[in-house]
Symmetry: C2
Subunit: 181 residues, 2 copies
């Protein structure tokens, strides 16, 4: 990627993130992002078609980091069955999410949080699908999956938007405690 492109992209991300901290997503204009990032109008549109796509890109970047990063802890437990394996994996995801907590606080604080949650759940859907066999509840499978995914996403939101006093391990523990079926 061209240095200039990367520089511009980073400037936009940072400007957007900064604006999100003090303003609702809906009320942030492209012009404000441009001014904050100190770039030309046409340059912004050369990178992103819309504000929504900008948010989507930020989320995708974060998810790519969070979900595809090396999972050192997991190697030892890759074949351990059941809930402990899931708990470790979720703890690891929380650990990586924490590294982005500044960006995430901004994103989650406004309506953009709803979009983030939607994208986040798409990723989680795949992950949890692989653990569904470990759960046995007398409810429809799609309902259960929806419940597990939604609850974890809400857990993340609760953690990030709160004071984040708990460790990733503790948060994963809370989650496992309330979904134990």
């Amino acid at each position: 990627m061209d240095r200039r492109q990367k520089k511009t992209r980073d400037a936009i991300f940072q400007a957007f993130s900064k604006l999100l901290e003090k303003k609702r997503y809906e009320h942030i204009t492209v012009q404000e992002i441009i001014d904050e990032a100190d770039i030309g109008r046409s340059t912004f549109y050369a990178h992103f078609e819309t504000k929504d796509e900008l948010l989507r890109s930020m989320c995708t970047d974060i998810f790519h980091h969070v979900f595809t990063e090396d999972l050192p802890q997991e190697a030892d437990h890759a074949y351990s069955a059941g809930s402990k394996s899931l708990e470790l994996k979720l703890g690891h995801i929380l650990y990586h999410l924490k590294e982005h907590h500044r960006d995430l606080k901004g994103i989650l604080s406004s309506e953009s949080g709803a979009l983030f949650m939607r994208y986040f759940k798409e990723y989680l859907q795949d992950l949890f699908g692989r653990y569904m066999a470990d759960f046995h509840a007398n409810v429809p499978a799609d309902y259960l999956l929806n419940h597990l995914v939604g609850s974890f996403a809400e857990t993340v939101k609760w953690w990030i938007t709160g004071k984040m006093e708990c460790t990733p391990e503790e948060v994963a523990g809370f989650y496992m405690a309330v979904i134990a079926v």
Copy 2:
């Protein structure tokens, strides 16, 4: 309330609801609502300051119906303690929500669903707060409340946006099954 006002208000609600069925909330313009409702521009703004406020009013109307309607079943069980009392109450709420499923499908299908969910949770927060004593989990109280409220809201969303093949009682049962802590 003046007949004209009621007529106009209903026309706006119906037009908005109809548009929501085929279009995303964000992409619906005030002008489209006006055209669909066949009213004057200034009339719309005499009723609602913004599109957001229109949605908020629709939600409030529905919630008022759902949460304050007579609860016939509950009279017999008002003093029964524990989870059965909660399950009955939730079943009743689901029963009333079903009466609005046409409007709700539209609202929940787009980003307006995020706003609905937020308002809905505000109401649920009060309700669940009164049952918190019945739950005992080794997690922070605010986390647990957030989990219970969020999960029920997601349950409603799953039910309304799906095929709604289950009865309110069944859905309440599913919910109780997965939150049993």
